[in-house]
């Protein structure tokens, strides 16, 4: 493996910002410092990556990606999803367990890990809380935790049964794992296809009230208080959800939360053209909710930006709005959206995308840590000023369902380095 020299960038990590070059050898950071790359020339044993004008940061970590394999390979595979992730600056992504079959047993965890071997991004497997994600019986959590699974979720559905959720939290508290909840009361939300409000009323589309999310946020805060269990709230979308989480954190409960890029960039008004590309769950909410999610990210109430990358094949997504499956692509646009849309210092944006989600995912030893000699060489190099236009046909994902087609964004990944090897070089995927 040739040495890698990342030259001319600004290093940004949890400890702050400084100038510095990075030398990578044998999958680890061999040296960090200003001027160590001076006069370096590329050779058979040295690859030089130009980071001029760029930020060099720990690789990004996504808590929430649907890679569709096994079961929906026409929409995405682990390989294509990982490539999309690398192009988005990620070195680790959490694969959600709502595959077909669901990831709810050691055998399927191993199968997914086998499929993920050698892809462009580390794939951390999340497992289901209940068998088949049916919300009836706990999955073998201890066995799965022993395999290294750190996040459990029935995502796509919330665990509806409060007693079952309580038991899951109690059981989990002995295993050093986190339960991640998709907050949605299915009876309140039943039949809904977009945010319930002014636009759903005007467009004649059945709505999902904000309260369908909020009652489960409330319930799980109460259950966390009851059990002492660790709860991570997936894709929070409403102003009151953010406020509830803020209060729970102030109380000292073991609560974390994420928000998806579309919930801080798009409102329910987008549905007016009836394009199912804007259908997602939780749905795009009102302007006030979008503002609250932004404020929650700025204040740190929301710990992480997670993509909820949800590929769907065109023939499935191009259905009538109320028949189309919810979900949008996210891996290749999340960083640029955060840089373009959030009025936050880049250190804070990267905290939301890298070191804070790395803690929640339980992979902080390998991802998101400070850029130090001896540390793992999982890095991304970001040109924060690079302007680009989202073109669905250019994305590495197997699907095309991005809601940002034609949108001008600022900030792009120049290089991504996974375990010392470039997975993206000069904006091009390397495998």
């Amino acid at each position: 493996m040739p040495e890698l020299l990342i030259v001319g960038g600004d290093l940004v990590d949890e400890s702050g910002r400084r100038r510095g070059d990075v030398l990578v050898r044998d999958g680890a950071i061999a040296a960090v410092g200003e001027g160590i790359g001076d006069g370096a020339a590329a050779g058979p044993n040295v690859t030089v990556l130009d980071a001029g004008g760029c930020i060099v940061a720990p690789g990004l970590v996504d808590l929430h990606a649907h890679l569709r394999q096994p079961g929906r390979e026409e929409a995405e595979t682990i390989e294509t999803g990982a490539r999309a992730a690398a192009l988005g600056g990620y070195t680790a992504i959490v694969a959600m367990p709502n595959t077909e079959p669901a990831i709810d047993s050691p055998g399927i965890v191993r199968e997914v890990r086998d499929l993920a071997a050698g892809v462009a991004c580390e794939v951390l497997v999340a497992a289901a809380i209940t068998v088949g994600r049916r919300g009836e019986q706990l999955s073998p959590m201890a066995e799965l935790a022993a395999l290294g699974v750190r996040l459990f979720t029935d995502d796509g559905n919330g665990v509806q049964d409060a007693r079952l959720m309580r038991r899951a939290l109690e059981y989990a508290s002995g295993l050093d794992i986190t339960l991640a909840q998709h907050c949605e009361d299915e009876i309140l939300a039943a039949g809904g296809h977009m945010h319930e409000g002014e636009w759903s009323s005007r467009l004649g589309i059945p709505g999902i009230p904000s309260e369908a999310e909020e009652v489960m946020v409330m319930r799980d805060i109460a259950l966390s208080r009851l059990t002492g269990g660790r709860v991570h709230f997936l894709h929070l979308s409403t102003a009151r959800s953010v406020a509830l989480v803020a209060a729970a954190k102030a109380e000292g409960l073991r609560i974390t939360a994420e928000a998806a890029p579309h919930h801080f960039t798009l409102t329910d008004a987008e549905v007016a053209a009836f394009d199912p590309v804007f259908k997602v769950n939780p749905p795009l909410r009102s302007r006030a909710d979008v503002d609250a999610v932004r404020a929650g990210l700025a204040a740190g109430t929301i710990d992480a930006i997670a993509t909820d990358h949800a590929p769907h094949a065109p023939e499935v997504k191009e259905a009538p709005f109320d028949q189309a499956p919810p979900g949008m692509l996210g891996l290749e646009t999340a960083l640029a959206l955060a840089l373009t849309e959030l009025d936050l210092p880049i250190e804070q944006v990267l905290g939301l995308l890298s070191w804070r989600p790395a803690v929640i995912a339980g992979c902080r030893a390998d991802h998101g840590g400070p850029i130090l000699e001896g540390g793992p060489a999982n890095l991304c190099v970001i040109d924060p000023e690079a302007a680009w236009v989202v073109e669905p046909g250019q994305l590495a994902s197997r699907s095309r369902n991005t809601p940002y087609a034609g949108r001008k964004l600022k900030g792009r990944v120049r290089h991504t380095i996974l375990a010392g090897t470039p997975t993206v070089r000069d904006g091009e995927a390397q495998q």
Binding site: E198, R202, L203, P209, D275, E318, F321
Partner: protein
């Protein structure tokens, strides 16, 4: 104008123009030979994903009276049953060389999607709970025929507003033409938000009826009971049905309207339909002329109606 998807595509001026052209087609419809050659050689397809014999026949009659060729894509006997996607169906039909497609679908927004995929003109024949623009146009025409104008008139729309495409299109059309609109329904049958709707709301039909120039009753669907929106049909009728006794609260000359099909004895008393101010069959008759006007404006006139 290429498509008629929403009443808001027309605006007040556009609605007025449709009304004016409709006058000419009402005259055509009254002739011994109610047919003109205006759309000879054009093909109009009705693509109905929902059963609605009345609307489909009204459009097909309109097209035939304009000498257009009509095709009826019947979903129940077609490839759709074999799992063909909406887009594939639409593109297949378009490949046959058509000029307009009338789309009726149970999902809101489908005509907008179809308009993205085809070059032909798309006419919204009713989408989900969203809009039914030709129904609103024929309702406007009927009111103008009897009351002269909608300007300053007061119309009450009564019933299941929440699930009604007719209500949504009529609110847009009536208010565009200067009418005051009051929505009357139990709170569970109102849309969750009325922000931006230029209407007043009442839950007391008896208070509203003496003040209106027309009362527009919506069809009450029986399945609403299973969704916990209403305790019973009987309770709905006692609060919101236009019984004979209630119809006496209407001012002299106030119109009674209904888009059909009616549930007699539920939203409208069985004998109320015989009152002289009940214009329900007039609405149906005007439907053909209004749809002729729409087809002619989209396919024949070459005129640009954009408001």
């Amino acid at each position: 104008m290429k498509h008629l998807l929403s009443i808001s595509d027309l605006g007040a001026d556009g609605i007025d123009e449709v009304m004016r052209i409709t006058d000419s087609f009402v005259e055509v419809s009254e002739r011994a030979i109610p047919k003109v050659p205006a759309l000879r050689g054009r093909t109009v397809v009705s693509l109905f994903y929902e059963d609605s014999t009345r609307t489909r026949l009204s459009f097909e009659t309109a097209a035939k009276r304009l000498s257009a060729d009509t095709m009826n894509f019947s979903v129940s006997t077609s490839s759709v049953k074999k799992g063909e996607s909406l887009r594939d169906t639409v593109e297949t039909i378009e490949a046959m060389g058509i000029d307009a497609v009338v789309v009726r679908h149970g999902s809101s927004g489908v005509p907008w999607q179809v308009a993205q995929w085809v070059d032909a003109s798309v006419i919204n024949g009713g989408d989900g709970w969203h809009e039914h623009p030709t129904q609103a146009l024929l309702d406007c025409y009927t009111i103008r025929q009897r009351l002269g104008s909608l300007e300053g008139r007061h119309v009450a729309i009564v019933g299941d507003i929440k699930h009604s495409r007719v209500a949504r299109s009529n609110v847009l059309a009536f208010t565009a033409l200067g009418a005051e609109v009051t929505l009357v329904a139990p709170p569970t049958l109102m849309p969750p938000s009325l922000a931006g709707w230029p209407v007043t709301v009442s839950h007391d039909l008896d208070q509203v009826l003496p003040k209106v120039d027309a009362v527009y009753l919506l069809r009450m669907q029986k399945e609403r009971m299973t969704e916990a929106l209403l305790p019973s049909l009987r309770e709905y009728t006692s609060g919101y049905g236009l019984t004979m006794a209630r119809s006496n609260l209407l001012p002299e000359g106030a119109l009674i309207m209904h888009p059909g099909p009616m549930n007699r004895g539920v939203e409208i008393g069985a004998d109320v339909t015989d009152l002289p101010n009940t214009v329900i069959t007039k609405q149906v008759a005007n439907g053909v002329a209004v749809r002729m006007a729409v087809l002619y404006l989209l396919l024949g006139s070459g005129a640009d109606l954009v408001a």
